[in-house]
């Protein structure tokens, strides 16, 4: 197993180099000048040049790239132009919000998605199967910003069950955190829930038609035991793959959901940075999110190996 993990880690290195190059290239590829964000309509070209100089944007390409690699090799993602603080600190401040949102959404998506998928597979062709698949399709099709606003309208404005978007850190109050996170996490989970439910259903249907299931049935085992003990473990590999992909999707979706629910997470940081061309923040968060994705993929690969010994042996 150790060799397997080391091999997977080594494979990640070229990916990281490529992502870091792409992160650096952002500053040259995206139109718009961060210096312009600081200045108003009466700014002179001299002022613009002065701000560009202060921000180091007038340095030659190769010098900027060398400085970028020099910094990231020391674990320094640079300094935000607009926030006037280190990018690492800005990300770390906001990370708990995004991680807790993603984690709660993942729990919602996996638990509800897998249960719904199992139920649909077990009631294949029946009204429960049809209803679940229709709901899954709706979940997949509804845009997150629209669903978020509808949930705010229903549960915050009408029913007053949840706040309209006031984030409470978990260390301040668990109940407050749960209240502030429930709607955003459900919104974020809705799309992925549908995805997991569909995948679980199709993986289970495939497994349930295998010979060993028929054997288990013919042994007279209860159907619930057949499904949970023999069916589900064998359907886990494709489900795990989907969960890995879904986790990435949740991180991406968090950008929209954080905006709608006014959550102070990494997604808000990225949107603000893109709109103001705060390049160090864009570059830093791009690299940071890439590392998270690689870690998620690594964990999923390790789990494959745990669930399916054939992967280890390959």
């Amino acid at each position: 197993m150790g060799h397997f993990i080391v091999r997977r880690l080594l494979i990640s290195v070229p990916v990281l180099v490529l992502v870091s190059l792409m992160s650096f290239a952002v500053i040259w590829l995206v139109p718009g000048d961060p210096a312009a964000v600081f200045l108003d309509a009466s700014a002179t070209p001299q002022q613009l040049a002065q701000v560009r100089h202060q921000l180091g944007l007038d340095e030659p390409f190769h010098l900027q790239m060398l400085a970028w690699y020099g910094r990231i090799l020391h674990g320094d993602l640079g300094r935000s132009i607009l926030l006037n603080r280190s990018v690492t600190a800005a990300i770390i401040e906001r990370l708990p919000v995004t991680l807790s949102l993603t984690a709660l959404s993942l729990v919602f998506a996996v638990v509800m998605g897998v249960v719904a998928g199992l139920l649909a597979a077990m009631r294949h062709g029946g009204w429960a199967d049809q209803s679940i698949m229709v709901l899954a399709l709706i979940g997949l099709s509804v845009p997150e910003f629209w669903l978020g606003l509808m949930l705010i309208f229903a549960f915050a404005v009408r029913l007053h069950w949840f706040p309209a978007g006031n984030f409470v850190p978990i260390n301040e109050s668990f109940a407050g955190w749960w209240q502030s996170m429930a709607l955003p996490a459900f919104t974020l989970a809705a799309v992925q829930m549908g995805f997991i439910a569909r995948m679980t259903r199709s993986a289970m249907l495939e497994v349930l038609h295998q010979d060993f299931i028929r054997t288990a049935n013919s042994k007279g085992l209860p159907w619930s035991v057949v499904v949970t003990k023999h069916g589900l473990p064998n359907a886990l590999v494709p489900i795990l793959t989907v969960i890995g992909i879904v986790t990435g999707g949740l991180l991406g979706g968090a950008v929209v959901v954080e905006q709608v629910f006014s959550l102070p997470g990494v997604g808000r940081l990225v949107i603000g940075a893109v709109l103001s061309r705060d390049f160090p923040v864009i570059q830093g968060t791009l690299l940071f999110v890439a590392v998270i994705y690689l870690l998620i993929n690594l964990i999923v690969d390790v789990l494959y190996a745990v669930v399916d010994p054939r992967v280890r042996l390959e």
Binding site: D33, D40, A41, R94, A164, N166, V260, P264, R268, L275
Partner: protein
């Protein structure tokens, strides 16, 4: 030396009309009540709470509750003393001696003196975002415990305008904070509220500064100056980018002031007794710029054809329904410099005249580029202008991008012919700021010696009446030569809970002078 006090300045601006600013306050309570927390929804997080380092509107919303300046703007944007008692200006206009208000306390308990003022202005000159504002200053010194003397390199008639600018405020900090590295700066000012906490992208909390002594020279709230009495104990500024979430929060009572909302939401909330929908008009002047470096916009006949053709009323009605005012003045109606000079050429809507000018122009039927940022009103403005100009045969291609992209392109001499956007703070601050946009060819991307001369004349002229005459000349020149297309003033809707009393819309959601009902 002529003493420039609040009274003299007010007299100078006596012709100002107050009609421009909506003075209809929220429902009055018989007596102010102290206490309570007010949550204000802002559209985004401020880049910085260090007032000298940002010009963002959202930063101003918070910072101008914490920090004060030597001079400030009154309700009609007139320049009046705030932390200063007044200024003695030498006859040659080169030396300003500021007498400071005694007994002003910083939030750290220290009493403000001349050293703090000099250190703060020096800091601004060194690292302030708009450090160029003080580039005309030769020396600054603490000439007494409560006296600061500033000598200029040359006459700068807008020097007090500069000191009172809310754009990037020349905020006064304690000297020991002013000399610190900006990243170690503690948010300490002299304002009626003091800093409590800042949660990035979430909220900023301020609380009433118990030792604040309202300026005794005033009897009432007046713009960014006046008597700043805080009745509210605590203010939480929440950063909520999503309009729907802000509306939901004000409906649930989580938020008591929504800085801005759109027209349809304002209409929808109009019948809700728990909130009041207020208009802040004017908030900005919508303009369409020509790129004078590019043919055919370098041809005055072409520009005149465009301005003759346009129906500004139609454009404003489409882009800013229910929240616009047709006004050809380049500064707001309440400014002492406001003039109608040249405005007979505003909103002409005369296609026959436009075609005559077009026939004499260089335009040969080519497609021209109209750049615009991706927010709704400017896009609607561009679309309507394209339609109107299409009727006299001018072909336009609209290119939409986000603000950083458009604003980078818009200062280059190539790649565009037209650009529309709003000017908010410039018409508010007055002629010098407004004229600086076209001085040195900045906005039209090509030098215009006539504009440069008028701008230089204005800066060198100390007499108010003569400055007014220069500005009238400038406005006439802008219209006669179709340098730019002024389309009209637009405003914004603000939503305020009925629990808030005595709130008057202004350029920031001003909390001093307001209170919560019992």
């Amino acid at each position: 030396m002529a003493r420039l006090t609040r009274r003299r300045l007010l007299q100078a601006g006596a012709t100002a009309s107050v009609a421009g600013i909506p003075l209809a306050a929220t429902a009055q309570s018989p007596a102010p009540r102290r206490g309570g927390t007010v949550t204000v929804a802002l559209v985004q997080a401020p880049p910085s709470l260090d007032a000298q380092l940002t010009s963002a509107q959202v930063a101003r919303d918070i910072n101008l509750h914490m920090y004060e300046t030597l001079y400030a703007r009154d309700e009609n944007a007139g320049v009046v003393p705030d932390l200063a008692q007044g200024a003695d200006v030498s006859k040659d206009g080169m030396t300003y001696v500021f007498a400071l208000r005694p007994g002003v306390k910083f939030h750290n308990g220290k009493t403000m003196d001349a050293k703090d003022v000099v250190a703060s202005l020096e800091r601004f000159r060194k690292i302030g975002l708009a450090s160029i504002l003080l580039s005309g200053v030769d020396t600054m010194e603490a000439s007494g415990p409560l006296e600061v003397t500033v000598r200029l390199k040359k006459v700068q008639s807008n020097f007090l305008d500069t000191l009172s600018s809310p754009g990037t405020p020349l905020a006064i900090y304690p000297a020991e904070e002013a000399v610190k590295d900006p990243k170690d700066f503690k948010f300490i000012g002299t304002g009626p509220m003091k800093f409590v906490e800042y949660a990035p992208d979430s909220h900023a909390t301020l609380e009433r500064f118990a030792d604040y002594v309202p300026n005794p020279n005033y009897t009432k709230r007046d713009g960014f100056a006046g008597r700043k009495e805080m009745f509210i104990d605590r203010a939480i500024f929440r950063f909520m980018p999503e309009s729907g979430a802000r509306t939901a929060a004000i409906k649930t009572g989580e938020v008591l002031i929504n800085e801005t909302t759109d027209g349809p939401t304002a209409k929808q909330l109009g019948g809700d007794p728990s909130v009041q929908v207020l208009k802040l008009l004017p908030f900005a002047l919508q303009i369409a710029k020509f790129n004078h470096s590019q043919a055919p916009c370098d041809d005055v006949n072409f520009r005149r054809a465009v301005t003759a053709c346009l129906n500004a009323e139609e454009t404003m009605e489409i882009a800013f329904p229910d929240i616009y005012k047709l006004d050809g003045g380049l500064v707001y109606g309440y400014s002492p410099y406001y003039t109608k000079a040249g405005t007979e050429l505003y909103n002409q809507n005369n296609q026959a005249k436009a075609k005559e000018f077009l026939a004499k122009s260089k335009y040969k039927g080519e497609t021209l580029t109209f750049i615009v940022d991706n927010t709704r009103p400017p896009m609607d403005t561009a679309t309507d202008l394209k339609e109107q100009l299409g009727q006299i045969g001018i072909k336009i291609d609209i290119k939409v991008a986000d603000w950083p992209t458009v604003s980078t392109l818009g200062f280059k001499p190539e790649g565009w012919h037209f650009w529309t956007h709003g000017l908010g703070i410039e018409p508010y601050e007055g002629p010098a700021k407004l004229m600086s946009i076209w001085a040195n060819g900045i906005s039209q991307t090509k030098d215009d010696p006539n504009i440069d001369k008028l701008y230089a004349d204005l800066l060198a002229e100390l007499d108010m009446d003569k400055r007014k005459a220069i500005f009238a000349q400038f406005q006439t020149y802008m219209y006669e030569n179709a340098v730019v297309i002024p389309l009209g003033n637009y405003g914004m809707f603000q939503v305020v809970s009925s629990k808030i009393k005595n709130f008057v819309p202004y350029r920031i959601p001003r909390l001093w002078g307001t209170w919560l009902e019992a």
